[in-house]
Symmetry: D2
C-alpha cells in the first residue's frame, strides 16, 4: 500500500485544498492565499454550483443535491480578509444502498480497483473520493477565483460544449457570451449544434449507454506577461488542471493536434501593432508563447470520455478476482460535458488566479 | 514587469532544478531527492544527450554541440549518495552573431515578445532561456530517472514519432523496442511510415518551411497503485510535463480525443484475472484510472506544432512596435519531433520517478 | 497592501491546512496525506482539545468553548481512507462586543497593527485570525498525527512546563509520564515546582499583569535516520513549528544556548554499543545530528513571552495614529504555558509525522 | 534506508537549490525566482565568500580554499534576467587522505552515524554533504539576496559575535556598522569584548579543545507588513533558516528566553507615532508581531555549539559497533562563530528576500 502528498491541493498562491467523499457528511474546500478586500457575492457561487448540480435538466443525473453551502471563514463584512476561506457543502441526497451490491466489485473504467491497489481501505459508497462529486468543491473555489480575476483585471472565463459524440459545433468564439451558453440545455451556444447534441445524448441514454464530448475554454482580458517559462508554463498548468478533472482524456491549446498538420508559414502568428498594443493576426498559439500569455485570448479544448457508468450489463471481476456481472442502477449522466462546463471554467480560473497572484509587487523598471 | 516562482523546478520528490541560457556559459540541472545506492551509468546519459543533440542526422539543425557533461556531486564510487546530483553541460558552439540583427525583433510564434513583457531584460542570443536548448538539462535528468526506474522496478519508457505533418503511422505498441525506434532517422519504428515522414520533412525544408508532428509515449512495468487522486492525478502530471516541452500543443492519454466519439459500452475497459494479476482487456484508459496506475502500459500522445523558425521571409514588429521583416539564418530543424523523442521520454521518466518515490515506506497492511 | 502564499498550510506529506477567525463561525483543518488504515479515536482528539481549552482551571481564561468537533471526511468505518481528513470546530462563546471599543486601537505587542499594514481589511473581533484560538485546529490535527506516530512506530511525544517567570523546574525527563504532567494544574510534573509556578501565576494575575515561561518537549521511540540534511533538518523544522505558535520567542534543541558555554570535549556525545543498538552516553545533541535523528530522545525547549493582554492601563495609538489608552476587559490567561503544552506537542507531532511519511518505500539495500 | 524530498532547497519565491560534497568536484547553487534587472556585483559575492573562507585569520582552519566562483547563467550584461542563476564554486584544497583512517568510524557529535542510518552509502571524505563546507553555496546565494534587498528596499542585514564560551559582549546594536564588525578578527564590534573572545578561542585551541558562541543578527530598513501569519510567520522562517546551519542549537527573536522572566507590563512594546510612521518605544518583539514585520529592526540571536572536531583523543564506535579511539588531524576551527557570521547573514537574507518577493503586485486599495 502506498500514500501520496498533497494530492488534493491545487495552486501555489491561490492555494485550494479540497476534501470530501461522495456519500460522506460534506464536501468542501479551504482557499489559502486569496487577496484581501475582494467583494464576495455568494450568489455567484450559488449560480456556478447550480450549473454543476445534478438534476438541473432532463439530460443529467437525478440525484437531488441542493448544494447549499456555507462560508465558514475568511470573509468579513462581505469582503475577503486575506485569511483562509473555507466553504462547506453538505451531502444531502446520498443513496449509499444503491452501491452496496457492488461494494467489492471493480466497475469497468472506474477507480475502484486502483484505489484498492493504492490505499487498501476504500469508501465504496458512490465512488467515495473518486466520485465526480469531488468537483463541487473546485467549482466553489473557482467561483471565488472568478471574482478575484474580474475585480482585479476584468478577466473573463467562458467554456462551452464543442462536440458530443461524433458531432462537432462550428463556433466563432468572439461572439459567445455567458448567456448564449446558458440558454442551451447542453451548454452549446449554437442552437443547431445544440439540438444535435441533445438528440445524441437522448439516443445513447435510451440505449442504456453513454457518450463523450469536448469542451472549449476561452479566456479574455489576460494581460501579456502572465505565466512562467520552462516547467510551469501557463499551458502546462492548464493541461494539469484539465486532466485532473474526472473523465478528462485530452487537452490542446490553440491549434493543438490539428496544428501538427500545418506548415510553419501557415501556423506562425504574425505580430502587428494595434493602437498602442502589440497583438497577433491569428491565434494558433492560443494566447500563450513560451509559457507566457501574449495578451490574446487563451483558447483551449478538453476531451471527456464516455461516462463509465452505463446501465447495460458488463462483465468484470470482484476484489477476489472472481468474474462477475454488473448492471448499475444509481443515478448517472449519459454524457458528462454539459455539467463539466463550469468545472472546466473553475479549473481555468484557479490557474489564472494563481498566475495572476504570482506577479510580484516590485516595480522592476527602477 | 512581473516575476514568478519555481518555474524551472520540476517534481516534489525527484526534484529537478534546471538552468542555462542557449548562448550562455552552460546548461545544467540539480536533482534533489534521488535515492541513494543507484548505480549511475554515464554512458546512458551520454546516449540520451546524443539522441537529442543537433547535427545527429541530415534532418536536424547543424549546430555542433557535443554535449559533453560533468557530474559535479551526488555520485560517489559509481553510486548515488542520496544528496543532490548536479550535472553541467557547457555550451560550446553558440553563434550569437546570427541573432544580433533580430535582437529587438519579435520573431513570430517565438517567446521574444512575452519574455520582454514579463521580464524587461532579455537575453536575445539564440532565444536565451526560451530556446529548446533548455531541454538538454531535462534529458540529462531524465537519463538519471530512467536508471532509477529500471533498477527499482524494471519500468521502461519508450517514445516514437507517430505522425509527421499529414502522415500517420500505424503501429502496434506491443512490438516496439528501443532498437526498432533508433534504427529510424525520424525515430518511427515502422520503416514504411518512417520513409514517408523523412520525405515530408525534406520537402518542407526545401520549401524553407517547417512541419509539426505527434509523438507517442509508452511506459511498461508500472505497478498498480502509483499516482494520486484529485489534483495530482498521474495523467495530469504527465500532461503538465508534456505541455512544458517547447512547441508542445496537445496531450492525450489512452483513447484521448478520438475516445470522445465512442459509446461507453465500447470504451469501457473490462477487468479480467490473468494468473494472479488483475488487468483489463482493452486499454482505452491508457493505464490510469482515477489518477492512479492500474498496471497496464501508460499510453499517451503529444502534439508538436511546426517549428516557428522558418527561412521564408515573414512580417512582424520590433520592440518599438515598428513593422519589419525577418528571414532568419541560424541553424534550425524543419521538424522537431525526431529530436523531441528523448525529451518526451525524459518528461515521462521524471513524472514516473516522482510518483514512484511518492510511495511511502510504511506497510499499511498492519 | 501585500499578500502571501500558503501561510496556513504546514507540512509536505502530512499536510495540514487550517482556517478560522476567533469570532467567526468555525475553526478547522484539512489534513492531506494521512496514511490509510489508521484507527482514529475521537476520544483522543477530544482529550487534547480539552487540555488546550480555556476555562479548564482557575489559572486560565474563562471563555467557555466546549470545542466540540466533527470529522467531515477521510475516516470511514473508524479508519482513515488516505483521503483528506477535515475537522470542524464551531466557535460558540465569542463575545465580540468586548472588542468593539478597541476596534481601531493597536493593542501593544498584538498583531492588530501588522495585520492592518499587511491586509488593510481586518477582523478586529477577538484578534481574528491572529488569535491563539487558531491553535485549536493544529491541536486537532496534532491529535491525529499522534495516533499515526503511535500506531506506526510507538513514537510518543510529551511536553511540560519547565519554567514560569523566574522559576525553573528541575526535572529528569526519563521519569516523566503523561499522567504525571496532567496531574498538575500548570502541567509541570514536579509537585514542588508546580506549586511555585501556580503561586507566581496567581500573583501576576492579582497584579493585573502577566508572565512568560518555557515548555520542554521530549519525544521517544524515534528511529535513527528520520529527517533531512541541509535546509530541512529535523531541528530546523521543529524550530519553525515552535516559532509559529503565538507568543513563542525562542527555541533550543539539546544543550541549546547553555551549550555554547561548554568545551567541545565536555559537549560531544560519545557513541557506544548497547546490545544491538548504537546510542550515545549523553544527549547534548538532543537526538539529532546533521539534521537526522540518531535514535536518542528528541529534546527541545520553547520560550513563551508574557501574555500581551493585561488588564492594566497602557498607552498606545489607534489606526489614525492618535495616542490613546487601553485597559482591555475580555477573558485572558495571565500565563500561556499551561495551555500551550498540548500545542507544543501538536507541533512536534506534525513535524515528526511529516518526517516519518517522508521515508520512502524503496528498500535501498538492494 | 530512507530518503527525503527537497532537503537542499530553500525558499518558495527566491528559491535556492544547493549541491556539493566537501571533497567532491564542486559546491554550488541555483537560484530560481530572482527578479530581473538587478545589478549584480561579483565583488560583493567574493567578499562574503572571503569572510566565510577558512584560512582568513589565525583563529580559523587552514584549509586553503580560494573559493573562486563562476556565474553560469541568469546574469546578462551585468543584470539578472529573471531566469535561474547558477553559481559554481570548485573544491580545490581537499585532503581526503586525512579522513581515510576514520572512514568507518562514527565521530562523536558528527553526522557520520545518522547519514549511514539514513542513506547507507556515504561520502566519508571530509564529512561529505554534512560538512559545513556546504554553507559556501548559501553564502553565495545570500550575497545575491543581499543585493536584491539593498536595491529594492534599502534593507541591510548585519550580524556579529555576541558571545564566545562564557563571555558575553555588551553591544548597542544601533551603533554597529559592517566596518566595525569586520575590523575585529572574531567579528565582534566591541574591541574589549573582541579581545576576551580571541583570548578564549586561543586558550581552547591550545588545549586541543573547542568552544561555542552566540551570533546576533540585526536587519534594518524592513517595511511593515512583510511575512505571514500562522505557520509561515517571519520568525518561524528565520528560526528554520538558522537551525539549518551546521552546529546551530538555538534561536531567539527579540527578548527570547530572557523575556520569559518579565512581566507583561514591562515586556509589551508601546506604539507611538513618530512623524508619519507608527513605531514602538521598545523592541522586545524583535521587529515582528503575529508573524508580520512591524517596521522595527528584526533582532535575533543564534546559539552555536562547540565545534565537534577536537584534537583530543575520544572514545567512540565504528560502523560495526566496535569501540575505538579517534584523535582527528585534519584542519578545523576551535570556534565556529567568527566564520559563521556571513552564514547567519546569508540565512537572514534568503528569508527576507523570499518574504519580500512574496508580496503581490496587486494594489488591494482599489
Amino acid at each position: 500500500m502506498l500514500t501520496e502528498i498533497m494530492s488534493s491541493i491545487f495552486g501555489r498562491f491561490f492555494c485550494v485544498s479540497t476534501f470530501g467523499e461522495s456519500h460522506g457528511q460534506a464536501m468542501g474546500c479551504v482557499i489559502d492565499g486569496c487577496p484581501p478586500g475582494i467583494n464576495i457575492s455568494t450568489e455567484l457561487i450559488a449560480k456556478d454550483l447550480q450549473r454543476r448540480r445534478p438534476g438541473q435538466s432532463r439530460l443529467t443525473s437525478n440525484r437531488k443535491e441542493t448544494d447549499e453551502f456555507q462560508i465558514l471563514s475568511g470573509v468579513f463584512e462581505g469582503k475577503t480578509l486575506g485569511t483562509p476561506i473555507s466553504i462547506l457543502i453538505p451531502n444531502s441526497d446520498a443513496r449509499s444502498k444503491d452501491y452496496r451490491p457492488f461494494k467489492n466489485v471493480y466497475r469497468p473504467s472506474h477507480a475502484d480497483f486502483t484505489y484498492d491497489a493504492k490505499y487498501g481501505h476504500r469508501d465504496w459508497r458512490g465512488g467515495g473520493r473518486a466520485s465526480a462529486r469531488e468537483t463541487v468543491a473546485r467549482v466553489a473555489a473557482g467561483a471565488i477565483a472568478k471574482q478575484v480575476l474580474k475585480q482585479l483585471h476584468q478577466i473573463q472565463i467562458l467554456a462551452w460544449v464543442d462536440s458530443v459524440g461524433p458531432f462537432n459545433a462550428e463556433i466563432d468564439p468572439t461572439t459567445i457570451t455567458h448567456e448564449s451558453i446558458e440558454s442551451s440545455m447542453v451548454r452549446c451556444p449554437s442552437p443547431d449544434d445544440s439540438q444535435k447534441f441533445i438528440e445524441h445524448i437522448e439516443l445513447v441514454r435510451r440505449k442504456k449507454d453513454s457518450t463523450g464530448g469536448i469542451i472549449r475554454g476561452y479566456c479574455t482580458g489576460i494581460p501579456a506577461g502572465l505565466g512562467s517559462p520552462v516547467f510551469d508554463k501557463m499551458e502546462a498548468e492548464l493541461a494539469k488542471a484539465m486532466l485532473s478533472i474526472p473523465a478528462a482524456k485530452g487537452f490542446e491549446i490553440g491549434s493543438g493536434f490539428s496544428g501538427t498538420r500545418r506548415l510553419g508559414s501557415e501556423h506562425n502568428d504574425q505580430f502587428v501593432k494595434d493602437g498602442s498594443v502589440i497583438k497577433t493576426l491569428s491565434n494558433h498559439s492560443g494566447g500563450i508563447q513560451g509559457g507566457i500569455s501574449n495578451g490574446m485570448p487563451i483558447d483551449f479544448r478538453v476531451a471527456f470520455k464516455p461516462v463509465a457508468t452505463i446501465f447495460k450489463s458488463q462483465t468484470t471481476v470482484d476484489s477476489s478476482g472472481n468474474e462477475t456481472n454488473i448492471a448499475p442502477k444509481g443515478r448517472h449522466d449519459p454524457c458528462v460535458v454539459p455539467r463539466a462546463v463550469p468545472i472546466v471554467e473553475a479549473g481555468a480560473a484557479l490557474v489564472l488566479c494563481d498566475q495572476l497572484l504570482a506577479q510580484n509587487a516590485i516595480d522592476w523598471s527602477h
